[in-house]
């Protein structure tokens, strides 16, 4: 699955509140992202699991038959499947685990935030979401796209050189990138190396 470097980013937004869905959709569109909104985790999984030929609004690309989602942004508190449950399902799927997931919540609960970050969320936003939060999404999606490109490059290398991979080089490059992208100190900070919360700044 090659990534078109020029394609618009496609964000899947999950929230059971109609008002918040409308808001997040506007925020995302203002940032020039393509948007699909759903009102539950199970619907989100449906969208993510869609294969060829399915019809859905806001497709990422008309060239491919597969819906490509570059980032999932989900509310935490939802009836049925919570945002955390959705996160775990995405990270637990071999197909979907590399899709960056961001969690939003109106509640500032450190243990909740920790849990989500440890579960693989890129970041945790407090509601109401701001325009400036949208810029951070771009970082995660760019990282994701770069990773994808590196992976498909690696596959090519493996085929041509017969298996001796430049794995360690790629890992070092990614690590350097991660450190270069250290987030501003107004949100919980998560260390890219370990699973421990490095610091948590009050806003």
């Amino acid at each position: 699955m090659g990534a078109d470097p020029e394609a618009q980013f496609h964000v899947l937004a999950v929230d059971d509140s109609l008002i918040d869905r409308k808001l997040i959709e506007r925020l995302l569109r203002t940032s020039s992202y393509q948007v699909t909104t759903v009102d539950s985790g199970s619907k989100a999984l449906q969208v993510l699991g869609l294969m060829e030929g399915q019809d859905i609004s806001s497709p990422a690309s008309t060239d491919k038959n597969q819906i490509e989602v570059n980032l999932v942004i989900t509310d935490y508190c939802m009836p049925g499947m919570t945002g955390y449950d959705l996160l775990k399902k995405i990270k637990g799927s071999s197909n979907l685990k590399d899709i960056p997931v961001v969690i939003m919540s109106s509640e500032n609960v450190p243990s909740r935030i920790n849990r989500c970050l440890e579960g693989g969320a890129e970041e945790f936003f407090l509601k109401p979401i701001q325009v400036s939060d949208m810029i951070r999404l771009r970082l995660f999606m760019l990282k994701g796209r770069l990773k994808e490109q590196q992976q498909s490059q690696q596959q090519e290398n493996n085929i041509t050189t017969g298996g001796s991979s430049s794995n360690s080089n790629n890992i070092n490059k990614r690590k350097a990138m991660d450190e270069g992208l250290s987030p501003e100190k107004r949100r919980p900070r998560f260390s890219g190396n370990g699973l421990a919360l490095v610091s948590y700044e009050e806003i």
Binding site: S17, L23, R26, S106, Q130
Partner: protein, 151 residues
């Protein structure tokens, strides 16, 4: 000129709303998200808030009216109301919801009923004020003027 009178009235009225805490910066965010491609964005979101809030208040009344009150359910409704009021910048309604939530945690029915009454009052206040804002905006536009930006 009528247009500039209206504009002045608009500026005075909306400044007061912010000063008196009816609206907070989140409302300004909504205004900033509105543009030529989405000229009705604010009224659309606020209308959703009106509909959502009135339904929630009915739900809350019903839930608190039961023989045995399900405080988890009450808290869930309050959480929703808090969320949507925060999302549009209806600060006073949001603040009542925060107190309301504590009454739920304490399983204090009387307290909850008091909070519900307060929430209702604040809601109808902000509703009528927002309707005035929209009316002024319509009048300004109808008169050929432009709506002053408040930021």
């Amino acid at each position: 000129m009528e247009s500039s009178d209206l504009q002045r009235r608009y500026i005075d009225f909306t400044s007061t709303l912010f000063r008196e805490g009816f609206l907070d910066s989140q409302y300004t965010q909504l205004q900033q998200l509105q543009d030529e491609s989405n000229p009705e964005f604010v009224t659309e979101v606020v209308t959703l808030f009106f509909q959502d809030s009135e339904k929630l208040q009915d739900d809350l009344t019903r839930t608190l009216d039961q023989e045995v009150v399900d405080f988890k359910k009450v808290a869930a409704h309050v959480h929703q109301l808090k969320g949507s009021s925060a999302s549009i910048g209806a600060q006073r309604v949001k603040n009542v919801c925060m107190a309301f939530r504590i009454c739920c945690e304490e399983m204090n029915r009387e307290g909850c009923l008091g909070c519900l009454q307060q929430a209702r009052q604040e809601y109808f206040l902000v509703k009528s004020k927002l309707e005035t804002v929209f009316r002024l905006e319509q009048q300004i536009v109808a008169g050929g003027g432009s709506i002053p930006t408040m930021w």
